[in-house]
């Protein structure tokens, strides 16, 4: 793969192709990192609420749990490309434009937030009840149990889940590219696919693969520190 990329790069025009790819990579990184950061905050808060409002949990509330469930279950099955288009008026109202990387951040953030909410909830539910029991027996307060024990014990799997979601965001930015979001996906589609420039397409695919590998490697590394061998 590396040799394919290396020989492909030889065919790239250093005056036009390379700056174009670099700019697209920058746009992709911008979309991925901003939407990932925002979605992590929103998604984790939602996920913790989904968990904590379950029956028997510290913020047990049927109403809140059902409402959150409906929100998450409504947004999750919508195919991303449809969400992207459907949100156009909202995006225009909030960000001032509906095209370009900045505009793509809103639908990316919304889709990723509900995804993170659900995986975070299941990571928290999977925490051994014995852990909670021991914390209760030691006299820990409900909030301390939630953050000091449940969330803390779930950190390793949570980081792996966030890694999974960040790879899904990289994937989704390509879709955002299809409707003018910019980034590597946009470039691969317009120059590579529609103008039959196979070289640029292969280079972009290799860059995307490298990006995903890097994200997964970093995620695994961080998670391992929390999984306590």
């Amino acid at each position: 793969m590396v040799t394919v990329a290396a020989s492909a790069i030889a065919f790239l025009d250093p005056q036009t192709d390379i700056p174009r790819i670099a700019r697209a990579l920058g746009e992709t990184l911008f979309m991925v990192s901003v939407s990932f950061l925002l979605a992590s905050v929103i998604g984790l808060v939602l996920g913790i609420f989904l968990y904590a409002t379950r029956p028997g949990q510290i913020l047990h509330s049927r109403v809140v749990h059902v409402v959150l469930n409906i929100v998450v279950n409504t947004l999750r099955p919508i195919p991303f490309v449809i969400l992207l288009v459907a949100l156009t008026p909202v995006t225009r109202a909030l960000i001032g434009t509906s095209i370009g990387p900045a505009a793509a951040v809103l639908p990316l953030t919304i889709a990723a937030s509900v995804g993170i909410a659900r995986v975070a909830e299941s990571n928290l539910v999977a925490v051994d009840p014995g852990v909670i029991e021991a914390a209760k027996a030691a006299g820990a307060s409900p909030l301390h149990i939630l953050f000091g024990f449940v969330v803390r014990e779930a950190l390793g799997p949570l980081i792996l889940s966030l890694t999974f979601i960040s790879v899904a965001i990289i994937d989704a930015t390509a879709v955002a590219g299809a409707v003018g979001g910019g980034g590597l996906g946009n470039l691969a589609l317009t120059y590579g696919y529609q103008r039959f420039d196979w070289t640029i397409m292969i280079v972009i695919v290799v860059v995307l693969i490298g990006l995903v590998q890097l994200v997964q490697f970093v995620g695994n590394r961080i998670a391992r520190r929390f999984i306590g061998r």
Binding site: D128, G130, V131, E133, A134, A135, K136, A137, A138, G139, A140, S141, H144, F149, R152, E153, L155, G156, F226, G228, R229
Partner: protein, 319 residues
């Protein structure tokens, strides 16, 4: 569903109290009412004069600083080191950092894990995990330690080590221990007094030696018999009846009967012979305990006199 009903148990300060019964008897539920992990629908749990279930949540949490608990599956916090596991209850109880470190070191030495402070729970064996569990439970110098099937996930050798450790927690640190288990050998070697639970009720309570020597309730007799390997099932009785047609008795052997040559002296005195047809004797907390089944030979009047006199020093049943 009623898990517990009409339960009246009182544990004295400084003793080791056993709660034993089969799975589903309600013994763990009863234990968990002591630190408020379970709330009874009616009735009360009084600890040092405080009604545990009348306390507001905040006071209940404070009360829990003074009650340690160890679990069957250890329930260690895997995201924390051994040190972190033992230090956390102290932090919760508001100890200062500079007091925590020496206290944790002292506790790890006490449980025999001096070199393991920075190990992760996943790197430890079951026995080591339970040692951490015990160190964590007694960290804040509780007055009571609740042991919920603390040895049930361990092999026999490790069980003995953990039982010894629990005994030194009680004898050396003066911590009252309530032990829940389905293993009679744990109760027999550890507890001072015991309650037997069956279907959510306490069917029998008393001193461990008295319970072992003369179980009154069938559930107790079953547990004791299974433990000593000396109890007779109905099937065994009928096959022994066919094999030994004479007069058959079972004698409970305890300090009174094995302290001297009681059986042979009485047999000689009354001119009776006996064959040992079943049974065994073992030692429980340095006292003999067991049961022997005998077939008696001799004339009927002599056998009657022998049984009558033996009954004055031992528990004898004819079958």
């Amino acid at each position: 569903m009623r898990v517990l009903d009409d339960v009246d148990v009182s544990v004295a300060a400084g003793e080791i109290y056993g709660l034993i019964g089969r799975s589903g008897a309600g013994k763990s539920t009863l234990l968990r009412t002591i630190n408020g992990l379970e709330t009874p629908t009616s009735g009360s749990v009084v600890l040092d004069g405080v009604d545990v279930h009348a306390l507001p949540p905040k006071d209940l949490r404070t009360l829990r600083h003074g009650i340690g608990m160890v679990f069957q599956q250890f329930n260690l916090w895997n995201s924390r080191t051994v040190f972190g596991n033992v230090a956390t209850p102290l932090k919760i109880a508001g100890w200062k950092d500079d007091a925590i470190a020496p206290r944790v070191a002292e506790l790890l030495d006490f449980v025999g894990l001096g070199g393991k402070a920075f190990a992760h729970p996943r790197q430890l064996s079951g026995g080591q995990k339970q040692r951490v569990g015990i160190a964590r439970a007694i960290a804040g110098r509780p007055s009571v330690l609740l042991a919920d099937e603390a040895t049930s996930a361990l092999d026999p050798q490790t069980t003995t080590e953990i039982v010894d450790l629990l005994r030194s927690v009680n004898r050396e640190l003066g911590i009252t221990i309530v032990v829940v288990t389905h293993e009679m050998d744990v109760i027999a070697s550890l507890a001072d007094r015991v309650s037997i639970l069956s279907d959510g009720k306490v069917v029998e309570s008393g001193d461990i030696h008295q319970i072992l020597a003369s179980p009154r309730h069938p559930v107790t007799a079953g547990l004791v018999g299974a433990y000593t390997g000396t109890s007779l099932t109905d099937g065994e009785k009928s096959s022994l009846r066919a094999q030994f047609p004479g007069r058959r008795i079972s004698v409970v052997v305890d300090a009174a009967t094995s302290g001297g040559p009681v059986l042979s002296r009485l047999a000689r005195l009354h001119g009776v012979d006996f064959a040992i047809i079943q049974g065994g004797v073992s030692r429980v907390k340095d006292k003999p305990y067991g049961q022997l089944s005998l077939e008696l030979h001799g004339d009927d009047a002599a056998i009657e006199r022998f049984v009558a006199e033996l009954s004055q020093t031992a528990t004898v049943t004819t079958w």
